[in-house]
Each structure stands twice: as C-alpha cells, then as structure tokens.
C-alpha cells in the first residue's frame, strides 16, 4: 500500500465519525428536549453519554485504525498468483491465480483521487474468489491492472 493511504483512511474515518456523531448528537438533543416518555428516566439523564462516548471512540480509532490497517495489509503477485492479506482482528489471506481472473477493474473514488490513490478489483467466476487491493498508489494501481490483465489474457483458462 502507499503510505499516503494512511492519511486518506484517517481523513475518511474522521469524515465518517463526524457524520455519525452529528446524527447521534441530533438524536440526543431531540431526546433531551422532547423528554420522550417511552425512554426510561435513567437513560434520559445520561442522554449525552452516547455521543460523547462515540466521539472518544471515533477519535481514537481514527488515529489508530488506519495505521494498524496499513501495517497488516499486504499484497503481492508472485508466480502468477495474486496474494492479498487484509483484516485487523479478523485476518484474511487470499490467493487468486491470475489465470482464473475474469476482470480487473481500477477504481478511484473522490477521496482517493484527492490523495492520488486507487483501488484494484479483481473478479473471478466465484464471488468468493474475487478480491480487491485498496489504497494503492495511482501509478502502481495502473501498473498492476495492466500487468494482471495482460497475464490473465495470456494465461486465460476457460474452466470456471
């Protein structure tokens, strides 16, 4: 992965966190003002604990999570097999033989474009055998896409 991915994931986590926090604050504010009768008294008194708790969690995870993700994410193409490793608590390794690849897509979202990053999505005949590599440098992604597509075309194994 590109080291810039850490920055992008941080920004994206902050944005996500802000949106969720805003919604939680809105709910809490409504509950506080409206004094909803169906909500137990004890909850109403501590109605702001939710948003505050989430805010702390989001802030910590926005700092820790992207770095952690960067450390554990790996990809490699060796011997015409694409290898990916993702996941923090639940680790996932995947092997996709290039000969079985049907499509290779390079995608770039708005945030990714801002950071000069891109994702490569690889599809096989099985949804389980499909994978994607995220947070790549745009040039690397371009190169990987071309390399995989060319090799897949050359090795094309029609069996599914």
């Amino acid at each position: 992965m590109s080291p810039r991915a850490v920055r992008m994931w941080t920004v994206s986590a902050i944005l996500d966190g802000l949106v969720t926090a805003a919604i939680l604050c809105l709910v809490a504010w409504l509950a506080d003002r409206g004094q909803w009768s169906w909500v137990p008294e004890a909850v109403l008194e501590r109605v702001w604990w939710g948003p505050i708790g989430y805010g702390v969690f989001a802030a910590v995870s926005a700092i820790v999570s992207p770095r952690w993700r960067y450390r554990v994410s790996r990809w490699e193409v060796a011997g015409d097999v694409l290898y990916t490793r993702t996941g923090r608590l639940r680790v996932r390794w995947q092997l996709v033989p290039v000969s079985r690849i049907q499509t290779v897509d390079r995608t770039q979202g708005a945030l990714e474009r801002a950071f000069g990053l891109a994702s490569v999505r690889v599809q096989t005949a099985s949804h389980l055998g499909s994978t994607s590599v995220r947070g790549l440098d745009a040039d690397t992604a371009e190169e990987l896409t071309g390399q995989l597509a060319a090799r897949a075309g050359a090795l094309r194994d029609d069996a599914t």
Binding site: T124, G129, T160
Partner: protein, 505 residues
C-alpha cells in the same frame, strides 16, 4: 455437405424458418397474471357487490391482459439456425438475442398445471455469456412436443457433443426412476414436516381474518367457550397428538407432489432430471458443467440412512433444487448411482483438531448457558431451569457439529464436510478450484485454527472448511493446488509460520 443434403434433413435440421409461440399463449399468459389477481379482484367483487365501476375495471383489466397476451404471441419469434439460436421479441423496442449453439449450457422445460391443461411448456435456454452472468432465453410457452424437440435439437447440435453424435445422443439412458418407497423419505425431511403446521397456521390466520371481517368478536366467542376449553384440556392434547401424527402423512404428501415421478436420464452429454406432480420440471445439466457434487442429510435422515445428491454445476447459483440429481434416498442406492454418473470421492476425511471441538461446543452451549445465567440473575427460576436443561441438547449439537467436520483429498477431488442439523459433504474437482481464502478471527488465532474457503466458479461459489488447523489447511491447499501455493509456502512446516508472520510485500 451439399445444400441438397440439408434440405433432405428432417425439420429443424438446417436453418429453419421463424417459429412462434403456441397461439394458446394468448390465453395462458393472462391466466398466469390473473392467478395473482384472483384474490384482490374476487374480494373487490364480493365487498363492492355488483358495483358497475368495479365490473368495468375488471373487464378492462382482463381485456388488457388478453391484449398483452396477443402482443406477446405476435411479437416473439425464434429460430434454430446453423450455429445460433435466435430469439426476437418486443413491439416498440425490438430486441434480438442471438445465442451461439456451442454456448448453450442447458435447456430446461417446465410446465405449470395451467400449461399442462393446454398441453404447453415453458422452455428456458441457458447460455454462458463469456464467463459473465449467464444469459437466458425464455419461451413462454410452446407446445409440449415442440419443447421436447427444441431441447433435443439445441443440445444435440452443439459441436461439443459431435463425437458419437448419431448413436448415443439420440438414445436416452434411464439411470433412475423414483421407487414408490422413496416417497416415504418425505416424512424425514423437516422442511416437509413443518408443511402441515404452516398450512394450519395459514388456514387458521385466514379463518380468523375472515371471521373478524364478518364481524364476529373473537374474544366473545372464546369467553363463551371458556368452560369447554378448560374442561377439554384432554381434547386439546388429543388434537395436538393428532396433528403430530398427521404431520408425517402430510409431509409425505407434500413431498410426493414436489418429487413425483423423479427420473434421471443421460441424454447425449447431459444429465436430465424430471419431476413434479402438478408443475412438471425437466432440467438438463451438461456433463461438462459439473464440477463436483454435494451429499446432504439431516439428523432425521441420518437415522433413516437417507441422503440426497446435488450437483455442483457452473451457471446454477446456490445449487438449489435445479441442481438436484437425486431425491432423498437410501444411502446405498444413491452411492451406486453416483458412481455411475460422476466420479465418487475415493479418499477418507480427516478430522479437525481438538481445539475445533472446544470451539463448536462453546458456540453451541454459550448462548443457552448465558441466557440461563441471565434468567437466573433476573429471578426467573423456571426459565433458568428450562434453559439449563436445554444446555444438554445444545452440547450434543455442538459435539455432532464437530464430528461432521472433516476434509480430505483423493488426488483428484477435494472433499469438505460440515454441519449437523443440515449436514453437507461437498466434493469438488481439483481443476475447478479457482482460489483459496483463509480467515482467522482473534479467537481462532489463539487456538491455531482458521477457516479455509475454497473458491469454485460453480454451485454456491465457495465452500468452507470450518476450524481447520492452520498448518493442516496450508498443507491441504498445497497438496491440492501445488502451483498456487508454491510461491508462498516453501515447505509445509514453515508455511504456517510464514503466514502468521505476514510476509513482506
């Protein structure tokens, strides 16, 4: 081959003229729509009395549907050409679909009771469209004879089956016809056992709704009959017992309707199954599409030594009932037929490590035990006691789940087994494996286990070996697909270390 030769062939031998659906489609299509509208329309007519507006609306609706049927009949044309099957439809937006004959993977013929009344059938043509989502052509509906002709024609004329095209391809070989006794297995299928309960519940619900609609106060009725109800506890018990006793009978009935006259044939390069009492369905599975098979059973079925066989075939997602090769039947007979049509798995299954037993047991017992503790803390003594007793069956379930876990490789095929209430053993050909995926949760990592999933471009798309030892899993994958693992796992022993240490990219 000269042009004269081609002319001499029977109809459909060469480029044939455009054909149309059966003219009866004009009536069957609206009838098909009407099925869904009968209840609301009937209700409207009943509640609205003979309101002229509702009558007019119904008439317009029926006329519109007849017109739609007529338009469908007028617009759909099809043709079996030299190398293509051609389907044209649409009036405003014309659509033309050409399916190369060699891409046709299967031709299914099905007929609902309505279609059968008119002697019609629906033909579904399935084709692999360059590896992407399968493309389909559907003819709704043609005469039964025409449907059978099409099926033969389309499947026979694929160049793939040209070798021996004249001899074997025209002859059907009957491999299996449902013996009478096999309908009894319906009583062992939980799905059909609950059919009676579901039907009763639905009927009860409908009756209740009707009574309320008619202005009957249910509460009052119940109150009036309270004496009878309390005095008749015995009566209720008898009723429940009768329902329990009747459930298997209904199960067998429902099962027989679905599986009636199940037959399996070999026709050219295809396996053809046919079944159903009311809706008759014929599914043809090209042999070359089959990537493996699955043997499924459940605890009741295991008691009766029964198992059912499903094919794992490309283009049939989920492997549902379309891929069924045999209905539930005695294990011995199923295995005998399996050996005749496919390659049976020749190896044994290896058990998963003891840590997997702890995990299965824990996952089965923990929710029940947890609920019991919560109930006890909350002061619901009886609930807690009941849950505590339920821990025992949960533990038995967990142990059985562990017992069914297994994996094996016989040099050609990989086999994985899991599940208890619905146990399945899948067998997948080595060449069909298009990738591997390991997943390891935090708890699995501590136990040295992982879940290995094998990606297959057929059936459910992937099959899992749950809680397999991590080193075992790498060894297994390495054994099955050495080329795929070679760049990453140097030696089987070092492989697991390699993996958990996450090699640098």
């Amino acid at each position: 081959m000269s042009a004269g030769d081609r002319d001499a062939r029977p109809a459909g031998g060469g480029d044939e003229a455009d054909r149309r659906l059966s003219a009866l489609t004009i009536f069957t299509e609206p009838a098909g729509y009407l099925k869904g509208l009968v209840v609301p329309l009937g209700a409207a007519l009943v509640t609205g009395g003979l309101d002229p507006w509702i009558l007019i609306l119904s008439a317009v609706l029926v006329a519109g549907m007849l017109l739609a049927g007529l338009l469908t009949y007028r617009s759909v044309r099809y043709r079996v050409g030299e190398a293509h099957f051609e389907l044209r439809k649409g009036i405003v937006r014309k659509q033309r679909r050409t399916i190369p004959l060699e891409r046709i993977r299967g031709v299914d013929v099905s007929a609902t009771p309505l279609h059968r009344l008119f002697g019609l059938a629906v033909v579904k043509i399935e084709a692999a469209a360059g590896g992407r989502a399968p493309e389909e052509g559907k003819l709704d509906a043609v005469r039964l004879g025409e449907a059978e002709r099409l099926q033969r024609e389309l499947l026979r004329r694929r160049p793939a089956s040209e070798e021996g095209a004249d001899s074997a391809d025209t002859e059907d070989e009957l491999l299996f016809a449902m013996p009478r006794r096999w309908y009894l297995f319906g009583a062992l299928r939980p799905r059909y056992l609950v059919a009676l309960l579901a039907a009763l519940a639905a009927a009860g619900g409908a009756a209740l709704e009707l009574l309320t609609d008619l202005g009957v106060d249910i509460g009052q009725v119940v109150a009036r009959h309270r004496d009878w109800a309390s005095g008749g506890a015995l009566g209720w018990a008898a009723l429940a017992a009768a329902a329990l006793a009747l459930a298997p009978v209904f199960a067998i009935g429902a099962y027989a309707i679905a599986q009636w006259g199940f037959s399996l044939r070999r026709r050219g390069g295809c396996l053809v199954t046919e079944r159903g009492l009311l809706t008759r369905r014929q599914v043809s599975l090209e042999h070359a599409r089959i990537r493996g098979y699955e043997l499924a059973d459940d605890p009741l079925g295991r008691l009766g030594r029964a198992v059912r066989l499903t094919a794992i075939a490309t283009g049939i997602r989920g492997g549902g009932s379309r891929a069924a090769l045999l209905p539930t039947g005695s294990r011995r007979r199923v295995h005998a037929i399996l050996a005749e049509v496919l390659t049976p798995f020749a190896g044994g299954l290896r058990a998963h490590p003891p840590a997997a037993r702890r995990r299965r047991l824990g996952r089965a017992v923990a929710p029940v035990a947890g609920a019991a503790v919560v109930a006890a803390l909350a002061g619901h003594g009886w609930v807690a006691a009941a849950l505590a007793v339920a821990v025992l069956p949960a533990a038995a379930l967990g142990l059985d789940r562990y017992r069914s876990l297994g994996h094996g490789f016989d040099g050609q095929q990989l086999s994985l087994r899991s599940g208890s209430l619905s146990r399945g053993q899948v067998v997948v050909q080595k060449q069909a494996i298009i990738g591997w995926r390991w997943t390891q949760t935090l708890l699995q990592r501590r136990a040295g286990l992982a879940t290995l999933e094998v990606a297959v471009g057929a059936g459910r798309g992937g099959y899992a070996a749950i809680d397999i030892g991590l080193a075992d899993s790498v060894a297994l994958a390495h054994e099955v697909t050495p080329a795929m693992l070679a760049p990453f796992a140097v030696g089987d022993q070092s492989a697991s270390n390699d993996r958990s240490a996450s090699p640098e990219a």
